[in-house]
Symmetry: C2
Subunit: 352 residues, 2 copies
Amino acid sequence: MPTREADADGAPRTVTIQDVARRAGVSTATVSRAIALPDRVTEATRAAVFAAIRETGYTPNAAARSLRAKSTKMVLVLLPGIGNSFFTPVLNALEEVFTEGGYGVLIGYTRQSRSRETHYARVIRAGQVDGVLVVTGNVPRDEEFVSVPDTVPMSLMFSEIPGTEQFSVFDVDNRGASAEAVRYLIAQGHRRIAHIPGAEGGLEANERLGGYCDALREAGLPIDEALIWRGASNFDFASGDRAARDFFALADKPTAVFAAADEIALGFMRALKNGGVSIPGDVSVIGFDDTEYAVHYDPALTTMRQPRTEMGRLAAADLLRRMASARDGSPSTSKVRLPCELVVRESVRRMG
Amino acid sequence: MPTREADADGAPRTVTIQDVARRAGVSTATVSRAIALPDRVTEATRAAVFAAIRETGYTPNAAARSLRAKSTKMVLVLLPGIGNSFFTPVLNALEEVFTEGGYGVLIGYTRQSRSRETHYARVIRAGQVDGVLVVTGNVPRDEEFVSVPDTVPMSLMFSEIPGTEQFSVFDVDNRGASAEAVRYLIAQGHRRIAHIPGAEGGLEANERLGGYCDALREAGLPIDEALIWRGASNFDFASGDRAARDFFALADKPTAVFAAADEIALGFMRALKNGGVSIPGDVSVIGFDDTEYAVHYDPALTTMRQPRTEMGRLAAADLLRRMASARDGSPSTSKVRLPCELVVRESVRRMG
DNA sequence: TTGAAAGCGCTAACAG
DNA sequence: CTGTTAGCGCTTTCAA
């Protein structure tokens, strides 16, 4: 509840625009104007109003303002919420830009659950937010979301919904970047290269797998299913650990491995080292993401960096722009594909 | 904006409670009741209302409801926002419990900035949230926050403000847990034990330093300032890296080090290994937190676990309770101090 | 430049 | 059990 001030009988009462108006000797309309359009009132009026605001400790009530203005100045950020810290810098950047732009950030974790998606669809339809940012590989499948873009601007980060035009999309060229990572391995003299794909069925995971195949094909190398260690349920340590079992089970081992995410790479490396395999001595590893931990691991992980903070900033700025111009028709959406960057560290060895 | 339906002339219009009432042949009050207190209307009325809701695609407008009910069903979660992924599971747990309880989660990163604190104080005073959870070592110093607990319930996580009663507090016994960590080192035969404190001036960092000293004193060991490597600006890798310089500069090296956070420990270990120092062969390291990465590092980090998820759940449940009973006077606050747990892994060696 | 008045969509008294 | 009525606090025409 808003600020209160003592009543005549000592009972606390919330300070409203009425109180300010009375105190400043003007109408409520003038107080409202002095706040929203300071140029539209005389110098003297403005001073009187702001003095009254200070004296009363007035803060405009958000609900009343939203109801009247039909805008809540809030955005909904939807995350997968699998406990992955990949999104920490993204959320950080989003919060920064949105707050700067005068918007609050409501977060929601979809957890791949239908009921949670329905819940957040309802939040949107209740007019609780002016825009939506979906930061997840798994875009909500709820039918309710289909109607969302008609009501508030919505953007996608890190993955797109092919064939749609109503969202802004901010992602990277997962396929191209993965191919580049594998090309680097090839350039270092590796010929037998394995891949640990990400979460089965996800668009990003598929794209990265595609890039891996592209690079192999380009170089005239065979694509060997025995070297594609599927079964990841997520972009996490456990999936890397699981892949290590495939590695150990294999007679003819690869000299290098491309993991679809840093955490997968780290989990894999740890398991290999436990098994007495040296990295990059015996096998080289390259990751994807450039998470905080990549550089601090031993050996420091060579990886493809996704510009997470920059993507967050750009996506937020775009949504801000679209929300601002939402009243005059559907503002144009953007498709921004940022470049990844190979970060060479210590986990890949040059062959022969 | 809320759901819309085509008007007579095709223009989209938002569906209001009026539309539902008209369609169901009842008054708006009855619709409101059918939704909020289903038992207070006849079976037939309820059916008619829900049918009308379904047919129109009605979703109650959040702003109107908040304005009238003087409750937004939202909480503000304030994080430090230094990009630290320590808070990822905490935020996850909070979101889960709050959503379950029918509350939305608005996040804010204070970034130790005065202006941002003022901003969020204003959000609270604007009545935008029904409760506040401060998840940070640095509690807002803004005067505006002083008045907050009178208006909405507020809780603190991970650190307290000594001498205050108006907040619920969920934390761990940083001092006791740290002493326990150092006692473990002593029990393993270590006598010359160093400490890397956390962010200078923070309550938690001080407590952990205090615990370190306690354990040393208990064992009759001297407290040597040369073994307390101050200067951390944060609980991060960089601080561990920085401490490694002190280590290398020292002639008479310690056999064990207690780092005030896992990330500090990891940064320190990495720097030592780079310098050819073996862990735990040459020096043992123990951390604090039990972050996701502790177990996957090489060597896996022995550390004191803070029950982050559980703390998040409990804190959220407590705030939920307090918000529910906020109308009838100031509900009682809780002080919950959860136990930490020593997780023994590979980074500490048993001496001679 | 300012004020009066209407009303955003909903809930809560109060009658009936 | 249901309807009527008032009004939450604010912004925005419309007139003056």
